[in-house]
């Protein structure tokens, strides 16, 4: 096992632990805001660690670029939807205009 493979494994395991923590938070936290906090923060970190791990194992440049793209797009989408869901919940589900 090369150094890159060992480092990649460690990153993937760390990422999995982050996902596990995020899932536990989603299931255990009491309200929508703390659950969102668990999901958006921890999943971004988890996915980031996973992407880094996968990058180390990428066989070519275009595979590497695709992995980075997946990570960036997931971050953009997750940050935006996290904010939108929280705002919607904060203002109450009836208030839909603005």
């Amino acid at each position: 096992m090369s150094a890159a493979e060992i480092l990649a494994s460690l990153l993937l395991i760390a990422g999995t632990l982050c996902f596990l923590a995020g899932t536990a938070g989603l299931l255990r936290f009491p309200d929508i805001f703390t659950r969102l906090h668990a999901l958006t923060k921890v999943d971004n970190l988890g996915l980031g660690l996973m992407a880094l791990g996968a990058l180390l194992l990428a066989s070519s440049m275009d595979v590497a670029i695709k992995i980075v793209l997946v990570w960036v797009l997931a971050m953009v989408a997750s940050a935006t939807t996290g904010h939108l869901i929280a705002r919607h919940a904060f203002r109450g589900s009836d208030n839909t205009d603005d």
Partner: protein, 314 residues
């Protein structure tokens, strides 16, 4: 058994059990939104299972169409029809509709049962042997757009009729969307929509040599349209001025497919028998228009009714 084999077996078992469990939970859920969420999660696991069965084409289609887009359509229908009651059709209408549908099903079953038995043919080997002549190197695309192109052509009227039927039911009601005109969501759409358009073209082009193609590309394009619709852009996309173009785009896939079939059928060839050497050009022409039409059709379904005329100023 090697460690790798055991790991794959464990993964398969988990994916299979979870898919079944999600299907059960989805069917027994009491609340609509919970049911839809479970259905979308079910799609993710079914897609993973297709990956493990080494059918990446179906996995892509399942993830894009079966899980994501069907989920979006279900959520949209729920938002549109929540709290509305519909009059039950008259008994005679239901009886006639039921009888016609049953007779059709019985007739089709009878035809299938009474078909003369044919010698088994190894279609997979047959396709693999003739892949050189098909114009593309990916066997799934060769079958869908060349060897069995007629079947694919017959799928297009189904898709188009679904959109026409949906638009005939009534005018689109703007669903109360919390993200409509939201600047943050619109800036997300500005980043993601161009990426989705490129991805759609990439999947389409990839289809000639690797898993991908018109249906997957079209589903991604539909995702871009749906983002625009949710952000409130449909007033421009489906405005009176753009109506003709949208309708032309909806019909283009079928029209080009039929035109190619007809044009080739007039010569000495059979319908959809591409001239040798030019097969790839014909397949590409059909696939590009199919992608645009499928994308627009799915967006038209998401709209949930025909767009209103003269709504541009609102």
């Amino acid at each position: 058994m090697t460690i790798e084999g055991a790991a794959y077996l464990a993964f398969d078992l988990v994916a299979g059990v979870l898919a079944l469990a999600l299907a059960w939970l989805c069917l027994t859920a009491r609340e609509g939104s919970r049911m839809i969420t479970l259905f979308i999660s079910f799609g993710v696991f079914v897609s993973l299972i297709w990956v493990r069965l080494r059918a990446p084409d179906i996995a892509l289609a399942e993830a894009a169409l079966g899980g994501a887009l069907t989920g979006a359509l279900l959520l949209r229908s729920r938002a549109l029809f929540e709290g509305r009651r519909f009059a039950r059709p008259a008994t005679i209408v239901r009886l006639v509709a039921g009888s016609v549908a049953s007779l059709f099903a019985i007739g089709m079953s009878w035809v299938w049962v009474t078909l003369p038995p044919t010698a088994p043919v190894n279609l997979g080997a047959l396709a693999a042997d003739n892949i050189e002549a098909s114009g593309v190197s990916h066997p799934v695309t060769a079958v869908l757009l060349n060897f069995r192109a007629f079947d694919t052509m017959m799928e297009m009227p189904v898709v188009l009729l679904a959109a026409i039927g949906c638009w005939m039911l009534g005018e689109a009601r703007p669903a109360s969307s919390p993200v409509r005109d939201n600047p943050l969501f619109q800036s997300l759409a500005r980043i993601v929509v161009p990426v989705l358009c490129v991805l759609s073209g990439y999947l389409l082009w990839l289809g000639s040599s690797a898993p991908g193609g018109a249906f997957q590309g079209g589903a991604v394009l539909a995702g871009a349209f749906i983002l625009l619709l949710m952000a409130g852009i449909e007033r421009k996309l489906f405005s009176s001025g753009a109506q003709t173009w949208v309708r032309a785009g909806l019909a283009a896939g079928l029209a080009v497919f039929v035109a190619v079939a007809w044009g080739l059928g007039f010569g000495e060839r059979a319908m959809l028998e591409y001239p040798p050497g030019d097969a790839k050009a014909f397949i590409l022409l059909i696939e590009v228009t199919l992608t645009i039409s499928i994308g627009l059709t799915l967006a038209a379904l998401f709209l949930g009714g025909r767009p209103r005329y003269g709504n541009d100023t609102k």
